[in-house]
Symmetry: C4
Subunit: 250 residues, 4 copies
């Protein structure tokens, strides 16, 4: 993307192209949010999904505390990467600073989902990373699902949600967001991402099933061994690698 | 509320204003009851929801042992705070004295829900309070969910349901019903409340998920640590405190 | 019932009254069978419900191995108490001799349900009676849910299904079927009963939830104490005793 | 089947009879695939079902990575037993070589299902065969559900999916596919089969419930004894033996 091609993202009078891009983004993010209760990942008004349009530098995210069953694009709030609300009438999700920190840190991330999905949250509350116990996990990523560190009291009192994003970045950065499409916030719950908001939902659905499998496996045998490196690479690469042969050609 | 403004709650000939208030209350309480099977909190005819109109001193509560799938406002019984039936053709829930004891003890309570919801009841049967293991719990309340004491044989034989209310009040009073929106009756199941019947349902739904998370966390690690005080305050206050920033401005 | 009043049950030409009674019975038993998948108690073609008309000495029971989603009264087979098929074109459930043994042993039983419902079957497979850990169980019955003894190899080879009935009668007879509305067949699954086929379904639904609660309670604390006698009597009697005050007056 | 009766399976110009057979097969296999999400056995695009027409030597199998909610017969790919695509526009499931190895090894197998169904996969990840703990299991098969050996690094790197088939054949061959309608691939998940694609789905549904029962039984008592031989034979034979009396006469 050259400087010439860059759209006037900061223009006070948004042009039609920009509005069309935002409308598409809001629709995509609405659908990602609606997929959360449909997939059994959220209770009541919990959870949120967002998406970014990198060309226009705008993020759409669920408004805070709104009901899923009457949700529309009017419940999608538009913010820029600094957190300034630039579209929509509502207050954005309280977790917005966490989403924005991740978008700023990782260019490859196009969509983010946060839930308190039951089985993944149990691992977060038990303060354990999710071990890589089978091919279902390796189909998602070739590493254990990491757990963030404890926040300091200063971080909790000041800019808590942004500090959560910082702690996530610390555990994701060593592998990168393509090999680690999710992580657990300690004693809280999962954040998941992907190239689009829909891909982030797929990460969240897969993580929840991986967490459930790991829980049941651990109950059957607490010393179940990790998948060996050859098998974890095989499964990850056949689905996501440069010579992937899972799925249909694009 | 001045003495002048107080409506003639004991009038034998209810006026139209009173009837309209009761009709609204019955409708609200019917909807709260119907939300229980829809939320997977009850089996068969179990469970009950009630609501109070403090101005008129009347409580609407589910009739005893009636089916949810054909339930209507005719299944809502109106009682006063002493337990006298003042409206409706049916026998009120056997748990009515427990509800009334709570309404008399706590002015802030506007709706109450009782269920045998699976995961919360398992903690009641294991005779354990639910430890505060994560932010999902702290979003509901900043304390462990307490467990009532064992009733004496005399309490069981005489006025059992009212004694249950008394035991609940004993564990809730120290924190108050706003910071403790629910408690477990030992070897029985949860009672939950809120400012309205709908809010009591939300407490019941949240408690059940909190209990499920606590069970799974405990199975993964029986020594999972409690959430530290700074984090539990942060989550409770951002949702319920005077400077709450979760949700939309009223 | 005097000999005069007894209808001609063995008449080869069934009269209209008898046919009307059988038609009603088939409809009731069809509805009980359809309630099993609707309540999540059965998988594929598993499970069966039956009902008896004591006046005419006939039992209606599900045909063996038929699908629930296309089930009609044509899938209800009529047998007499000796097991002779006296109505319907299909082969009755392989478990028919177990049902008949129970009907012959206990006059109060009007309907029977057999399932492999998950949580109750887990207790049967673990060869443990279900302990009485809470009021939900006491609302169903004031005793632990018993487990049948192991059958001998001779019993398995000859008249296996009737021997299963005999083993059930051995554990139920001491308390009687009103105080014990269900029992577990060792390493197999539950049989449940009641005054009607619909009541047997309610027993089966309740037992499954009681078994689930007992499992989760046991996982939280394997030494969870039994409910004390005063409380178990209180809950059973307020629902089923001569001075019951649960539910609506008949 | 005589040589004369054998259809010209390798003919480059498929005749109408062959096309009709393939159309029927595609329809059957489509229905088997659609039964997987309907039965709660698969998440997202995971899992696959196939079927074989032995007369024409063709296998229909789900295309790789396609969505279930818009699936049609166009998503069924036709391959021959060597793996050559002979019909359909899409890339077949990555697991196709595993299916073909099983079809080549076992003439009795007419349909195969692979899933990562939760409870069965937990046993595969815990690297444990599923013990025979009750009659529900014996109704499916009279043996524990075996677990494949670990693949070598060479097998993982070269022809991984076919090596998986080889490992399955090693554990199934001693008993044969009629007495062993499924097996667990170590740290991966179950493969299930039957005389038709629909029968393979029924095996997969039953296995998942058997795995769930075995998990819960094991949690209640890790030393739960295996079903004794007389009872396991009784249940298997009354459903699948030459003198079976379960179900309706054909």
């Amino acid at each position: 993307m050259t400087t010439d091609a860059q759209p006037p993202a900061s223009s006070p009078e948004p042009d039609r192209t920009r509005q069309a891009a935002i409308d598409r983004l809001k629709q995509d993010v609405l659908e990602a949010n609606l997929a959360l209760p449909a997939s059994g990942l959220v209770t009541l008004t919990w959870g949120n999904a967002s998406g970014i349009d990198r060309d226009w530098g705008v993020v759409a995210i669920k408004a805070s505390g709104v009901a899923y069953d009457t949700m529309s694009t009017d419940d999608m709030v538009i913010v820029d990467l600094s957190g300034k609300v630039v579209g929509g009438e509502k207050r954005p999700s309280t977790d917005t600073p966490t989403h924005l920190a991740l978008y700023r840190a990782f260019e490859q991330v196009g969509g983010i989902v946060h839930t308190h999905s039951t089985w993944a949250t149990a691992w977060a509350q038990a303060e354990r990373e999710i071990p890589l116990l089978g091919t279902t996990h390796a189909d998602l990523c070739p590493h254990p699902i990491p757990l963030t560190r404890q926040l300091t009291e200063a971080e909790i009192d000041e800019g808590y949600e942004e500090a959560t994003g910082k702690a996530l970045i610390e555990v994701v950065a060593p592998r990168g967001p393509s090999e680690l499409p999710c992580a657990l916030v300690r004693q809280h719950g999962p954040f998941c991402w992907g190239r689009t908001a829909a891909a982030a939902v797929a990460s969240a659905v897969t993580l929840e099933e991986v967490a459930r499998l790991a829980t049941l496996t651990t109950l059957l045998d607490p010393r179940s061994p990790a998948l060996d490196p050859a098998l974890r690479r095989k499964h990850f690469e056949r689905k996501h690698g440069p010579r992937a042969y899972y799925g249909q050609p694009a």
